[in-house]
């Protein structure tokens, strides 16, 4: 019934996994989704690429690495992507939205993902990056590489959603093995992408269209956080929203109370009722500040039964509606080539951030401490100013 629309949307949305972790996440998407968006795996490691189920595979940096991976060197990752920049651009030609999925910390993910984001952006696509930050047990070197990578990713993507794996680990319980922790990180990544993709491609009780998403992306400042909750059975709506609200990824809800821009995606089967959507939204509104800008959408997936999921993307700042060119967008414009005209103002905004409140999430503003061994206390990076970590707005 909605076949035509669906196929249109899938052809224009791409999900790219960059590096080993990104490819794993894309792989788990391939296993779970039918008729999903096109899945692309990009890696320097030939062997890892061979095992992926992504529809498109691209090996980068053949000359540099001979298909053997980067050995954790982010510079090699970056140079590899630079070498194949034209190929990357070709890959994204005609796409409206590209999800760049990566696990920061390693060589390819950290080094190449920002270049991949830039390639997608320069071909005119909107870029949403999902990036996980390493677990603590992965060591300090990977953590500092990851922070650097995240900063670079912010320069090239419209929205960067950071997922600190360590917080996920906290929720997995003390008995979780490393493998379980990694698998859960992959699952969260894929569900985040899935929720936004569904929102754009499937009709629901309340629609959230591409134009709204673009506006949210443009007005939200800095790095965003993300959480996901799922519920089954008769209390599915309450369970899902509580799980999302109390996710350790949102500091048990603390981050949400301090966010100015919030995007909510509610996914359910055809059995989801209006009342359930309403109760979810009431719960979310109760947990957020009155001033925050909340955008929500629902999507129905007929293959879902008895299950509701809630996805929240929270950004610290709302910069207000800058140019009123949002009006130019409506759903029908997805098909048209408006992306080219929208690109310049978007880029300009990124570069003039100095007077705007900027990027907020642990570990990114380190100033003079960016090259020295960080002071970590209780997995908090003390080199980041306290006011940033505590989300305190300072009079300028």
């Amino acid at each position: 019934m909605r076949r035509a629309e669906n196929s249109m949307a899938t052809s224009r949305i791409g999900v790219v996994g960059v590096g080993g972790g990104g490819c794993n996440a894309v792989d788990s998407m391939a296993a779970h989704w039918e008729n999903g968006p096109s899945l692309i795996a990009i890696n320097t490691d030939q062997q890892a690429l061979n095992e992926t189920r992504a529809t498109t595979r691209l090996k980068i940096g053949e000359q540099l690495t001979r298909g053997m991976g980067t050995g954790g060197d982010t510079n090699i990752g970056k140079l590899s992507a630079d070498d194949d920049f034209d190929t990357l651009q070709g890959l994204f030609q005609g796409m409206d939205l590209v999800f760049v999925v990566t696990t920061l910390g390693g060589g390819t993910g950290t080094g190449a993902a920002p270049v991949v984001a830039r390639a997608a952006h320069e071909t005119g696509a909107m870029v949403i990056a999902f990036a996980t930050l390493p677990f603590q047990f992965e060591g300090e070197r990977r953590m500092s590489q990851a922070r650097q990578g995240l900063l670079e990713l912010q320069d090239h993507a419209d929205v960067v959603i950071a997922i600190p794996n360590q917080s996920l680990f906290a929720s997995a319980g003390t008995t979780a093995t490393a493998e379980e922790a990694f698998r859960q990180a992959d699952y969260f990544l894929s569900m985040g992408v899935f929720a936004i993709w569904k929102l754009l491609t499937q009709r629901g009780i309340i629609n959230l269209d591409f134009a709204t998403l673009r506006m949210v992306a443009r007005c939200s400042g800095g790095t965003s956080t993300f959480s996901y909750g799922e519920g089954h059975g008769s209390t599915r709506a309450a369970d899902a929203v509580q799980a999302a609200l109390h996710s350790p990824l949102l500091d048990n809800g603390q981050a949400l109370a301090e966010s100015e821009s919030i995007l909510v995606s509610i996914l359910g089967g055809s059995d989801m009722s209006v009342r359930e959507v309403e109760s979810i939204m009431t719960a979310i509104e109760g947990a957020t500040s009155k001033e925050s800008h909340i955008h929500m959408g629902t999507a129905i997936d007929n293959s879902w039964k008895d299950t509701v999921s809630v996805t929240i993307v929270a950004s610290r700042f709302w910069r207000g509606n800058e140019e009123p060119d949002d009006k130019a967008f409506s759903e029908s414009h997805i098909e048209e080539g408006e992306t080219a005209t929208a690109t310049p103002p978007r880029r300009k905004k990124k570069k003039t951030g100095a007077t705007q409140p900027q990027l907020i999430l642990e570990g990114f503003s380190k100033g003079i401490f960016k090259d020295v061994e960080p002071t970590i206390v209780d997995s908090e990076d003390m080199d980041v100013p306290t006011f940033i970590r505590r989300h305190v707005t300072v009079d300028k």
């Binding site: 401490f369 206390v377 003390m382 306290t386």
Partner: protein, 400 residues
Amino acid sequence: MGLAPIVALEIGTSKVVALVGELREDNHIVITGMGEHASAGVRKGEMVDFENARICVKEALGAAEETAQVAIHQVHLALSGGSIQSLVNRGTIPITHPEEGVTQDDVDQVTELARSVNLPPDRQILHSIGQIFYVDGDRVARPEHFECATLALDMLILHAQNSHIRNTVRLLRNDMNLDVADTAFGGLCSALAVLTPEQKEGGVLVIDLGGGTTTYTAYAAGIFGAAGAYAIGGDHVTNDIALAFNIPRSQAEQLKRDRGSAIAEDTTPNQRITLPAEVGYPGRNVSLAGLHTVIHLRMTELFQLILRDIERKGISHQIGAGIVLTGGGAQMKGLIKLAERVFRAPCMVGRPVGFSGLATATERPECSTAAGLLRYAFKNATVARRRRRFTDVLRGIFGT
């Protein structure tokens, strides 16, 4: 007294200080020489650029040699890196000859046992300090001649990452031909410099606020109770300010020194400070309340970390004599008030006591560590002279 002058060297994050001191009667120390040089190549209390650090140390020592009119071949070194931590280890032995009472041999044995702890391979013991003996579970300061079945000793072990110590010592020994006579924890030195015996007896917490690190030392009932360090210091405050207002570091540092306060509410709302233009940066003005908020949050957090540590060690309610702040950061406006609030105890700024000589060295909280290191070194030298006694197990152990 016949003891040779001693040279104390502190290679800090913001400055290198070298003091030359002589011991007089009543353990009074006269500072006869001093050299100071802005530090380069040190971050968070640990050397990162050896060549620059070497030049700074050379300058400071040169100035100290000149003022004291001595040639320096040997130094005592203060260590304040953020890797320093403390733990208490208890050694217990049975007394097999109860009728004789505790002998010197028993004390030696329990001391050795209490001192032996298993540390990870990358860490080494910096100090092991005897706290208190237990004879059949009762606390005693001197256990000799007590009749009992068991003797125990609590030993406070201060340990640090060994690469940091090794690198610094290697630089001084190999590249500068200096003999490193001993090393000591900077926080302990500061406490020795600024505290009176009454304060130690009443229970006190000394916090030394340095450029790159903050160290703390707590005494409860005259016993050295806990110590530690955080690689958080004045540089962090400066960096916070620079990032908050998007201004260069030099301006942020100036702003911190001239207008900074750790208490936010005393500020008149809407008051603004004008910053002059600098190369590459236009002139601008910033909110004074904002500045104070940034500093307040950072310093509150730091104090809370220390409070939590001493709470965990069970001595937070034993600091009757209150808090003593020292080090360069202690001069921040509003800091005393803030410390009183966080620790709920009286607070003061501590300066070296029982020193005379060069006024610049004896009156400034920045010199507490180096001055205290002199006291530590003289104490050890006198103890060594009187023959070692086991209730004075205060000594630094340095093994390369």
